[in-house]
């Protein structure tokens, strides 16, 4: 399926969900578990939201430290917070 976005990936991102990848990940971690048909799309949705929050948090961290570039410290700090939040 062709991604609806156009050519350059600098400005546009693929909106396709790596469904095979997600199913494989679940199988690897929990082989006894099965996934339903549209389940992996929701998994993809949760990943999207996680990444959104992570990026937002790391961006905030970088802006607070008045850096023009996102460093790994910013990312680390953001990851701590967000992972805790998305523990469920």
């Amino acid at each position: 399926m062709a991604p609806p976005n156009t050519v350059s990936q600098k400005k546009y991102i693929k909106r396709k969900a790596p469904r095979g990848f997600l199913r494989r990940v679940l199988k690897r971690h929990k082989p006894h578990l099965r996934l339903e048909k549209s389940g992996d799309l929701l998994v993809h949705l949760s990943c999207l939201l996680f990444v959104h929050r992570l990026a937002e948090e790391s961006r905030t961290n970088a802006c607070e430290s008045k850096c023009g570039v996102i460093n790994k410290e910013h990312v680390m700090a953001a990851a701590k917070v967000i992972l805790k939040k998305s523990r469920g």
């Binding site: 389940g39 990026a55 023009g68 910013h74 990312v75 680390m76 523990r87």
Partner: protein, 461 residues
Amino acid sequence: MPESVAKPVPEAQVAQPSRRKSSQGSLELQLPEPEPPAPLPQGLLAPGKRKQRLRLYVFQQGVDEGLPLSHEPRGNPDASSLASSLNLTFATPLQPQSVHRPGLARRPPTHRSVDVAAFLQDLRDTNLAPPNIVLEDTQPFSQPLAGCSPSMHGSQPLPSHTGAEDTERVASPRTWSSGSRLQNSSPEKPAQFLARKAKEVNALALGFPNTSNSISGDAVEPLQDGVGEEAEKKMEEEEGLSMSEVKETTGSQGPFRAEQPGGHTEVTESEGFQGAVETEEPEESKGDEDISGRTACPELASNTPAFLQTKQRHQFLELAPPPGATVLPSEPMEPQLARHPPRPRTTGPRPRQDPYKTGLSHYTKLFSFCAKMPMEKKSLEIVEKCLDKFFQHLCDDLEVFAAHAGRRTVKPEDLELLMRRQGLVTDQVSLHVLVEQHLPLEYRQLLIPCAFSGNSVFPAQ
């Protein structure tokens, strides 16, 4: 309409001339037709009645169904008035010119049925003329280009056949075939076409390779091959997939390619000289019919060069060297293209992490896009680790939820519960809202149940 007729009809049935007149007058009032005015003397009415009687018979056939009253007035003298009324009512939709030939005029023009297919079939049927007639006609350019283009389109199946056939039979140089094609293209007389077509069909039935070989072999070979190559190249450039598709559909690429030089030589010329018209037509023809399109291409090509050739034969020689030059670069291109796919081969075993990392890279790219700020490479690695942990947590949670529900399969309800616990889904923000916000249409349709026609919901709940 019949109701309007019904009203004057009972009036006329009183059998009063005044009533007739009035009925006619009423009819006249109702109808915009330029009928004779009411105060006409009855003598004039009589011929009108006769005309209308004549028309009545014709119209009755069509009117019988609609009007029960039509049966009554047949034997009555009032029938004329009724008929006139009927005629009037039914003549209004038709043009007034239909008075003279009502039957023919009433028939709707049906000559708009399939253009190409019928036309081609007709041409095939008619294109059975003997080759003698072809040879006799020595003025192929009687018609201008404009005339040739529709004829070309129509006679597409013909010229290649004739050319192939002629080359087979006479083993003559290209001029003969072109000459035959010339005559084929310009005059499209049924007799000629019938004879030609029959022979062409026979020739074609024998085998395309023979014809193609004959075509390529008989005429100026290098020129044809070169021009054919160039034609192929041009065709591919301009038509691209259509040609290749046609080639593939035909199945045998060998004979097809062999044929192409004969056809393409002309195609190139046509393209070179006329340009878009011919290219469009072969494209259309190819798009329409596989085999016929395939033949149409060379046919069309034969058409155009046919009448061009006689005028500008010397230009063929001029074309020869450039096609020869262009052939060379095109030829090495093709083997290189064939070599390209197998060339970049990575040796060695693929590490197990690769598919996992490539999958994660999808999300890391998403991360760098969402951050809207430049990032370091190391921070991306951290993002990957973070995602890895996130997936682990996700799987654990899903397992717990599924086990809590006594299931071995993870269902969307588990996912929703997970997101609710994460704080993404609240009472204000439902899962569907998030789905609509972040997922593209194809996934939205799969996730959100929507009602379709036939009282069905997809996906089923």
